[in-house]
Structure formats: structure tokens, C-alpha cells
Subunit: 200 residues, 2 copies
DNA sequence: TATTTTATTGAACATCGTCCATTTTCTGGC
DNA sequence: GCCAGAAAATGGACGATGTTCAATAAAATA
């Protein structure tokens, strides 16, 4: 079968993650199978476990890849316009775009849960914080000087706000309740909080 | 084993749902097992499938039970104070309380997904809308007369907002980002939108 | 009581994550 | 070029899952 010299350990790891990520995008977390990933790369199931140690580690690696792609998309989208006034809108749209464009991989980030007492590995946490930092910068720009102190806490809350809208848009809750413009609704909530519409 | 005369079909259905719900609360969606439910009620696995037809229907019934309990909790909590001014705060707190008090059953509502093209049964959708209606009434009370027209759309958006905060609180995202007071954050966003803090 | 209807069973099947003894492949020293 | 030790890869075995359905048992009916 596959020869050792074909791939270094790091290369093999990368191949498994890439193939696994594709498989995740196609079938979703509920139907994801480590065996299927092994089949697709032409290795046996045992090799997957030799490289990742456990199913959970494999999923974590795949979800980490998804986070990296998400951050890329967010940055690319924000970089498009030199410095338009609608950067927060663009950030929110990018959030929804990625979720819609990678339904299954995006959902897997939240469908998968580590055992109760276990924390995600440091690298994974850093990826989440990297996205957080990107959004903080945008919130800072939108916030008046006398409110810069709120920026961190407010960004956490606004991320949760946008996430909630995105979840309801993706899982059908909004459809059930008759909501047709989730992105605009989320943007409205963000503007309420940032006060950029300037009604005071 | 169990005799037909012991339970009517409807009783058996109820027993399965109750036992299944308990099992779901204990182990969560990922480790839920229809076989285990059968074992606990002293019937064979086949009987579960005779009554519910499929695994998905069983999960749907259990999640429906969770929704009913959630609505009960919300109503009870709102009824506690005759008519305090902090009813929205109470509603939000009730949302979080239920999620925290029924971690696994609550998460199962969102962990489970029907096949892409399938819509939830009418009864299930009604349960979701029932919770929606309860919150609408509270939002109407908090909203000035000239904004009553927004009530429905705003409630959908605020539900998503609170849900997002609740998800991040329950799945560890807030912990990763250093957020320590998710309920207060959610309340702040709701007040931003409803304008009840009256800064204008 | 005899017959029909209904309820219940559990073996069989395909698949899954997990483990690990075994085999294969690679590598460095002679 | 060859051989021993290290590293990589294998795949059968295990217990568990959802799912199906012919066989069985019980109840209802005649």
C-alpha cells in the first residue's frame, strides 16, 4: 500500500486533515467517519489513530482548519474595501457567508464537544482568539473615544449576538418564526450597541 | 416481559419519552442510545421502533418534551413577580437557568438535525412558536407605543441575541474569551435594542 | 374454543470508534 | 549488499450503535 517514504509524518497529518475537512464539509459531523477518511487517503484506519491518537483529536484538528479558513475569509473580506464606513456590516456579512458556504464544517465546530472537564488544546484556543482580535479592532474603530474601555467586553457580546442570529438562520429557527433578513437584524443589534446610528 | 395490558400504546409512548428524556439529560445527545432506553423500560429495542418508527422521531419527541419543560420554566419564572419592571431580565435569566439546569437535554435541541430537506413536525414547530409568543408579549410591554409594530421582528432578533450569549456561555467560548457575566451582557444588548434604559 | 388481530421479541446486518499484536518498510552500520 | 533495530502501517477483533423483520406471544373477537 502506501509507502513510508511517500509522506513525512507532518505531510501525512496535513493530508488527513485536508481530506477529513473535505469529508466533513460533504457529510457533516453526524455522518463523519474516521474510517471513511482512511479509505479516501488510501491508508488503513489504524494509521489515523497512530497519527492523531483519538477520534476527538482528529475532529479538533479538522475544526481548527475550519477556524483558520474562517479567519482568512473574514480578513479577506475586510481588506476588500480600503476603509469604507460599513466595515462592521462587512464583518457580519462575512460571518454569515462563511457559515452558509461551509454549512457542515461550520456546524461541526459547535456540534462537537470535548468531555466535560477537558479544555481545547492551546492552539485551538488561539485560533478562536485570533478571530476575536480581528473583530475587536473593528469594534474599536466604530466606538467613540469615551467608550474604548468597553471594546473587549462589547466585542464578546456582539460576537455572541451575531452568532445567535447565524445559528437561527442556519438551523431553521428563523424560518420557523418568519424571519427573512437575519444579517440585517444582526447588524441592527450591533448598531444599537455601538450607537453608530447616532440618535443621541 | 412486559405485557400488552400493562400499558396502552399512548402510555407506552409517554413512558419511552420520559425515560428517554432522563437518559438524554444524563448522557447527552452524543451518547444517547435507543437501546439503552429500551433496556431501562424493560422492553426490547424492536418495541421502540414499533412505537416511534425511527431514531429521529424518538429524538424529536424527547426534544419536544424539553421544549415543553422550557416553556413551563419560563412561564413560572415570569409569573413569580406580580408585575415588576424587570420582566425582560427575568425572561433572560430563565433562558439561561433552564439551559444550565438541563445542559444535555437543552443542547440536544440544537445538536440534533433533521435531514436537510425535512421540516420538523407541526407539533414541534408549535412548541417553538409558543415560546416565541411568550417573549413577544414581554417585548411589547417594554416597547413604546410608536414602536409596537417592530415587536415581532425585534423579538426574533432578541431571541437570537440571548441564544447566542447562552450558547457561548454553555459551550465554553465565553470562558475562552474571558467573559464572566453572560446574562448581564445579554440583558445589556436587549436594553440597547428596546431602549428601556432611556438615555435619549 | 378457534381464529384473527395486535404487540413484542431478538437475531441478523452493516457500520462505528478503539485497540494492539503482527507485519511491512525504512535506515544506519558493517 | 546485507542485516538488525527502529519506525510505520496494517487489519482483525471487540463491543456498541441504528435498523429491519420474520417469528412468536398475547389479546381480542367470533
Amino acid at each position: 500500500m502506501a509507502r513510508r517514504s511517500d509522506h513525512s509524518r507532518a505531510e501525512l497529518r496535513e493530508i488527513i486533515i485536508a481530506t477529513g475537512h473535505r469529508h466533513m464539509e460533504e457529510v457533516g459531523f453526524a455522518h463523519f467517519s474516521a474510517r471513511e477518511v482512511a479509505k479516501r487517503i488510501g491508508y488503513s484506519i489504524g494509521t489515523i489513530y497512530n497519527v492523531f491518537g483519538s477520534y476527538d483529536s482528529l475532529i479538533l484538528a479538522i475544526n481548527g482548519r475550519t477556524l483558520a479558513l474562517w479567519r482568512d475569509h473574514l480578513e479577506r473580506r475586510l481588506a476588500e474595501s480600503a476603509d469604507g464606513a460599513d466595515r462592521l456590516r462587512r464583518a457580519i456579512a462575512a460571518y454569515f457567508e462563511f457559515a452558509a458556504g461551509h454549512r457542515h464544517a461550520w456546524a461541526a465546530i459547535y456540534d462537537f464537544r470535548l468531555p466535560e472537564d477537558t479544555a481545547p488544546p492551546e492552539g485551538y484556543q488561539q485560533q478562536v482568539r485570533a478571530i476575536f482580535e480581528i473583530v475587536i479592532a473593528e469594534v474599536r474603530v466604530a466606538l467613540p473615544e469615551d467608550r474604548q474601555g468597553e471594546a473587549e467586553a462589547l466585542t464578546r457580546s456582539l460576537l455572541a449576538t451575531v452568532h445567535g442570529h447565524c445559528v437561527f438562520a442556519m438551523n431553521g429557527t428563523f424560518a420557523m418564526l418568519g424571519e427573512g433578513a437575519p444579517v440585517e437584524a444582526a447588524l441592527q443589534r450591533v448598531q444599537d450597541a455601538v450607537g453608530s446610528s447616532g440618535t443621541c
